[in-house]
Amino acid sequence: MATVTDLKITELKLSEAEGGKWGMVIDQDICTGCQACVAACAMENNVSFVGDVDSGYGRSMHWIRIERFWEGEYPEVKMTPNQPMMCQQCGSATCEPVCPAFATVHSQAEQLNLQVYNRCVGTRYCANNCPYQVRSFNWRDYERPEPLPNQLNPDVTVRTRGVMEKCTFCIQRIHKAQDNAKAEGREVVDGEFTTACAQACPASAITFGRVDDSESLVSQLIKHGHGVKHLEELGTLPNVTYFKGG
């Protein structure tokens, strides 16, 4: 049973996390659904392809997917605005407390949800508990015939069977930018680097940056737009803001 002290700690944590650090703004009005982000993410993050049979079973490993729904009956049919969905890097993530192995933990430094692959024992509790359904599980050791492994990004761990994975906000890029800035004795500049999805997006529908810096482009966009955060009512404190547009 929760004691008064426990509750206070939870509240404190919530208020600390509320601001977040890294965030994303996605403009659904200009997202064309072209899947460039999905391909870019897969190439950057060594995401496995699973083949037609496993795709049919819903086991494809996309870290980012584009959701769309149909509204109305012919001829008044409309597609809902494309909705790129990836890990929302919640400030109060529902995946974290259910992991028995502490593989899904919160980064104090970066305010991101980490997935520690070598801790993961594959219970899949986190995926069950994620309201955004953005975690993908390695049901097999998916084959990459030679010479395809030549393309693998050496900055990103290759995952094996039985391990959960998800969008990391390209943490390897965050670290590289921080290392570069540190070596040059300066702070990371807004826009100096971005995630693979945002970099590829032909419509520039995805913007990435510091939400705790009021001067950054994401902060400006959030301030001036009518954005929504998905399933905010669950208290997850997501760090991705969506502009519906239209």
């Binding site: 659904g33 996309h62 570069n180």
Partner: protein, 727 residues
């Protein structure tokens, strides 16, 4: 500055976001080729743990977007858009990202081979005998018996073969590609010629427009230059100083582009021309202006009943088009692939005379010529391909060289390219991948992958600045492949005679430098140099050469409305359903062998790894069809089987199918997967010679079988649904 300067110093291209490398001048290229060296003796331009970035050009389609490829220890890791490149400004599409799965594809042609046609097994030959084979082919036949069939990229090879043809009298190279067939480029060009008195590829400034009427144009998918047009679409939406722009899409089957439209008008296939003319007439009437000749003959009431678009809708849209100062009408897609495709293109282009947007921001322009281009060039139309195939069948071509194109797969089966090959004594393919056409060749002398190659591509449309996009090897060739130009140069020397003297170049790089030399003296470039080595070093470093300023051409619109325009309905063959094949927005013409492209969900249906046929849910209900029921689609030219996908935004009298799958060769990820809708198509062409690919009706027959197709939207139980059991 001296020759001491190494490749690393001047080719280290600043990665996007990283600090910009200082521009160096006055040094020649110390090394022309990238090497992949073992860990212990890496060249000094490779540091442990440090990436090297090379600028090059994407070859997944002919648009010519600039890439910056991140490499590490001689391996290509990631492609990004080249942020300085005027066409794509740092962006890429999904195919550009997946190009690495082509480079490291497990099913490339690894060595020069010879085979008996159609036999998947082959014997390796060495490059010396390969070169001798090419030399014999050049020498032993009359020049007029030698033909080259080439893809729409790369341009430098096309220029090389064109020069070779001009000097030796062999047939000028013919270019073709499935994308150009479905884009109906000849129709666009011919319509421009008829209306503006000058042939050329129009450019539509969507970004500057306010109201855009697109008649089937799939500009967000694969059309002409998708990354550039996507930027235009963003401009339409994110109107900074004006209202958010409005997009209306007229098409019988909602395309990916149509899903982004504010309004989708599902007109009856074949009525596009009359609908455009009716809108023109109603727009003039709404302004109270006198009707021009172009719109006099059309009767809006009649059009409303024929097209299925209500008169009120036509009136409302016409008033909207007439009222806005930033109106723009775009022809494209299946509406041009009809017997009356040229009339559609003319009628839709003529609508632009209402706001008179020709040569103005938000309007219609002519695409600019690329730097080393003298006249507007377009790939062969289907009619021209039919003539080519006829010559093959008649034995007029004794030797056929094929590069960068897969006509056995892409051309309609009815044209019978494969059969016509039997009239050709020797077929030599330069294919990088073991595609269907390479399978029907006597020899395959594989070219490098685009990322291992030198070259350039002219940006045909999408950028106001004239751009020559440069390619350089970002990795050393992975297999025993050889640049086609180097093979041809060596073979020409062996062949002797006019061939030996025709092209006095040592290798491909020297040929390229010869082509770049005239640009050094041209004004307006964003860099220049006094000697060619420095100039080509910059060309590599920046990924091409372009002018700082440029302006699209202005069409001469004086006579556009002062002519009779044909609003007759298109003709269709007999059948139950209008058939609309469309290019898969993900796979395009040659993406099927890249596993990650196969696993990207189609933007509208979310289907992966297979072909489907889109049927209106009501129609499916009437026919007793459910999702994943396998149906046979029968045309007068062929039949194929595909799984039903109940697609809400399609007319009940229309079915649609993506092009891109159905390979019988082309590697493990492409083979025996899905079906090819061109198997159903006939030979009918429109007045401009482009294939009437959306000009037929087909029948549907039930097979009683199910075919589960993976799709993202129904991640629960695709197989359960299909098989009626739990897994």
């Amino acid at each position: 500055m001296s020759e001491q300067f190494s490749r690393r110093d001047f080719l280290k291209l600043a990665g996007v976001g990283a600090a910009t490398t200082a521009i160096l001048t006055g040094c020649g290229p110390a090394s022309r080729y990238v090497k992949r060296e073992p860990y212990m003796q890496m060249p000094e331009y490779n540091y442990n743990g440090q990436s090297t970035y090379y600028a090059t050009t994407c070859r997944e389609c002919p648009a010519g977007c600039g890439l910056v490829v991140r490499t590490m220890q001689g391996r290509a890791i990631k492609t990004e858009g080249n942020a300085n490149h005027p066409l794509n400004l740092g962006k890429t599409c999904a195919r550009g990202q997946a190009t690495l799965h082509g480079l490291y594809n497990p099913d490339r042609v690894t060595d020069p081979i010879k085979r008996s046609r159609g036999d998947a097994s082959s014997t390796n030959v060495d490059w010396d005998s390969a070169t001798q084979t090419v030399a014999d082919a050049l020498k032993n036949y009359k020049p007029e018996e030698i033909a080259f069939l080439m893809g729409t990229a790369p341009d430098h090879l096309f220029d090389f073969v064109s020069d070779l043809a001009a000097a030796t009298g062999i047939n000028a190279p013919v270019r073709f590609g499935a994308l150009s067939m479905f884009e109906a480029r000849a129709t666009l060009s011919k319509a421009a010629e008829n209306l503006f008195g000058k042939a050329g590829l129009p450019f539509f400034d969507i970004g500057g427009a306010q109201v855009v009427f697109s008649f089937g144009s799939n500009f967000l998918e694969t059309w002409l230059s998708p990354v550039s047009y996507t930027r235009g679409f963003v401009g339409l939406r994110e109107a900074k100083t004006k209202q958010r722009g409005y997009l209306v899409q007229f098409e019988s089957r909602m395309s990916q582009t149509g899903t982004k439209a504010d309004e989708w008008i599902p007109l009856k296939p074949g009525t596009e021309a009359m609908v455009a003319l009716a809108i023109g007439r109603l727009a003039f009437e709404s302004r109270g202006d006198a009707l021009p000749r172009a719109f006099v003959d059309v009767d809006p009431l009649d059009v409303a009943s024929k097209s299925g678009v209500k008169l009120e809708t036509l009136e409302r849209l016409a008033a909207m088009f007439a009222a806005s100062a930033g109106s723009l009408a775009i022809p494209g897609g299946p509406s041009l692939g009809r017997s009356n495709g040229l009339a559609v293109a003319e009628a839709v282009l003529a609508l632009n005379a209402i706001p008179d947007n020709f040569g103005k921001p938000g309007g219609v322009y002519f695409s600019v010529m690329a730097p080393n281009e003298t006249e507007s060039h377009r790939p062969a139309s289907t009619q021209e391909m039919q003539e080519f195939v006829q010559k093959m069948a008649d034995g007029k071509f004794k030797v056929l060289f094929v590069h960068g194109v897969n006509p056995v797969f892409e051309l309609p089966k009815a044209i019978n390219f494969k059969g016509a090959l039997s009239g050709v004594e020797q077929v030599i393919s330069f294919a990088t991948f073991p595609d269907e056409t390479a399978l029907e060749a006597d020899f395959v002398f594989p070219d490098h992958h685009g990322l291992e190659s030198w070259g350039y591509q002219r940006v045909a449309t999408g950028s106001a600045q004239p751009v020559l996009s440069g390619s350089q090897p970002v990795v050393s060739p992975f297999y025993n492949t050889r640049a086609t130009i180097d093979v041809l140069l060596a073979a020409a020397q062996l062949a002797g005679g006019t061939f030996a003297s025709a092209l006095p170049f040592k290798d491909e790089v020297e040929f390229l430098q010869g082509k770049l030399t005239p640009l050094m003296s041209e004004a307006g470039g964003f860099f220049s140099a006094a000697d060619i080595n420095t100039f080509s070093a910059y060309f590599q470093q920046y990924g091409g050469w372009w002018k700082l300023d440029g302006a699209f051409g202005t069409p001469d619109s004086a006579d556009v409305l002062n002519r009779n325009l044909n609003g007759a309905e298109s003709e269709f063959s007999e059948g139950e359903f209008f058939f609309v094949p469309f290019v898969s927005p993900i796979l395009a013409e040659a993406g099927a062998n890249k596993p990650w492209l196969q696993e990207l969900p189609d933007p509208t249906t979310t289907v992966m790894w297979n072909t489907w046929v889109e049927i209106n849910p009501e129609t499916a209900h009437e026919l007793g069809l459910e999702n994943e029921d396998l149906v046979k689609i029968v045309s007068e030219f062929g039949e194929i089987e595909a799984a039903v996908y109940k697609y809400p935004p399609i007319r009940p009298d229309t079915i649609a199918m993506p092009f891109g799958q159905g390979h019988t060769a082309y590697g493990r990820y492409a083979e025996n997967r899905g079906v090819n809708p061109t198997d159903l198509l006939g030979q009918q062409v429109n007045e401009a010679g482009d294939l009437a690919f959306a000009g037929m009706k087909v029948k549907i027959e039930k097979t009683g079988k199910k075919l589960p197709i993976p799709r993202l939207e129904s991640i629960m139980g695709v197989y359960g649904e299909a098989l009626g059991e739990e897994h």
